[in-house]
Amino acid sequence: MTATPLITPRRSNTDNVISLSGAELAFGDRILWQGLDLELGRGEFVAVLGPNGSGKTSFLRVLLGQQHLSAGTLLIQERPPRRGSALLGYIPQHRAVAPQTPLRGRDLVRLGLDGHRWGLPVGDRRTRRQVDELLEAVGAKAFSDRPLALLSGGELQRLRVAQALATDPAILLCDEPLLSLDLHHQKVVAELVNQRRRTHDTTVVFVTHEINPILEMVDRVLYLAEGRFRFGTPAEVMTSASLSSLYGSPVEVVHLNGRLVVVGAPGSHDHGGEPSA
């Protein structure tokens, strides 16, 4: 039980990949978060947690340049964010593909390479080789020629990881990519992302409702709730005291078999692994 380390040693980061200072996001007079200062370095793995509607997806949209901050500044590798930047890869939550969609596994991956370009998909040998390499990297070779609609959720998420890696991004943004996967495939997909971070020093921002499948990978946690936030190592943020003050009401964090269970977070779910209603 005590064998599971909650804190992975944080590396010293001189070059910041993402830096936010005094960042605020508000819609109308509703403030999602404010006064956010954070610097994320190469190879850092950050989990973004929080109840529904706390602004996790909006946080990713800010990083993607699709949503402007209401105040403060954001720099991605020392530059303002840019829409469609190849520096960022994006893995969405799993959604089933409509039956009879005329695309196969490799076609989905290829969209990550050249889906944003105008014109017809005329393929050359180089594109094909690149797609093959990406498929290889996530172990999706075996089902790369099968119709998307026939793939399982886990297989589809593997392909979406490969798609996101197509531009060899410095940052991987994941928006609940484990949702509706079984425990085994949660592990598999999280491990793929983590492996990429280890081999390529990719910075990972991982939005999730469920921290346990990634607990061992996480360097720091950004916890959003009630228009406020907590940012720090899991050991700093995921405590009863820290979350109680964040929510402004008593919340308990229980350690159970090396897992974290948050009990009593208002309007929230437990991070326990049991499917929440």
Binding site: P92, Q100, P102, G112, H116, W118, L148, L150, S152, R160
Partner: protein, 288 residues
């Protein structure tokens, strides 16, 4: 008696002479098949089959209004379709909203069309043709309009092909990758409106689906390769229209039953062939 009906449905006296007369129609039909087959795959991917039907009814209203006031029928149908396409595109971003918007628009369009036709005192064949299709000897003016519009649709689709596929499959990921998802949507609806307007000239408003949906739906039954789906869909659509024109020649019956029957037969065939493949693939998937 039965022989009589048969004579009406299939009559090939003077076939050679007729064939010369409809040469332009055949070329036009092939062109329409090409357009319908290509845009059909996107219609299916974007779940817009019902929208095609809705656009067709408003296009019909536009055409019959033009007929009534003596304006250009093709122009009237074009105005109707583009308007309908843009309204459906703007009001119905999510599928549920979209279907209710179409459900409201469609009877309104059809009603307007019926009103204009009732007021129209000209040739009855003109009226009927708008709904159920006709092969008139396409004159040069119509021909150039048809070819021109088709070319616009095909070139437009070719230009936006990759981002359109991306946005149709995964709009969020596409947007994250810099695809202008919000611009592509109305652009596609305009191209769709144009396709419906040209198709109506031949197959009529009621049966546009046979050209813009059935061939692509059939192709998707037998393959998931994007290239093969497009090629097959075009092949099916062209076969339906050209085959329909050839069979309808010389009979007194409108062209649409021939077109729809061929395209439905192709669909059935694909279902039978594809049913087996899909089931096998599923078994393979499950046995892993």
């Amino acid at each position: 008696m039965t022989g009589d009906i048969w004579q009406q449905i299939f009559n090939y006296d003077n076939y050679g002479e007729l064939l010369v007369l409809v040469r332009n129609s055949l070329i036009a039909g092939a062109m329409l098949g090409l357009v319908g087959g290509v845009i059909g795959t996107f219609v299916m991917m974007r779940d817009l089959a019902f929208a095609v039907h809705g656009i067709a009814e408003l296009s019909f209203a536009g055409a019959s209004a033009a007929l009534l006031i003596g304006a250009n029928v093709a122009a009237g149908s074009l105005v109707g379709s583009i308007l309908a396409a843009l309204i459906i595109g703007a009001l119905g971003v999510r599928a549920r909203d979209r279907n209710s918007v179409i459900g409201v628009l469609m009877p309104f369009g059809l009603g307007l069309g019926v009103l204009f036709l009732a007021l129209y005192k000209g040739r009855a064949a003109n009226k009927f043709g708008l709904l159920t299709g006709q092969i008139v000897a396409v004159d040069t003016v119509q021909m150039s309009w048809l070819v021109g519009t088709s070319a616009v649709v095909l070139l437009g689709l070719a230009a936006v092909w990759r981002p359109l596929v991306f946005a149709s499959l995964d709009p969020e990921v596409a947007a994250a990758r810099g695809v202008p998802v919000r611009v592509l949507s109305p652009v596609f609806m305009i191209l769709l409106g144009l396709s419906v307007a040209v198709s109506i000239q031949v197959v009529g408003a009621l049966l546009v689906l046979a050209l813009l949906v059935t061939p692509a739906a059939a192709a998707m039954r037998v393959t998931a390769s994007p290239i093969r789906v497009t090629l097959l869909s075009v092949l099916f659509a062209v076969t339906s229209v050209v085959g329909g024109i050839l069979l309808a020649l010389g009979s007194t019956i409108p062209i649409s039953p021939y077109v729809t029957t061929i395209s439905f037969a192709l669909y059935l065939g694909c279902r039978i062939v594809g049913g087996g493949t899909t089931r096998r693939a599923r078994q393979v998937a499950e046995s892993r």
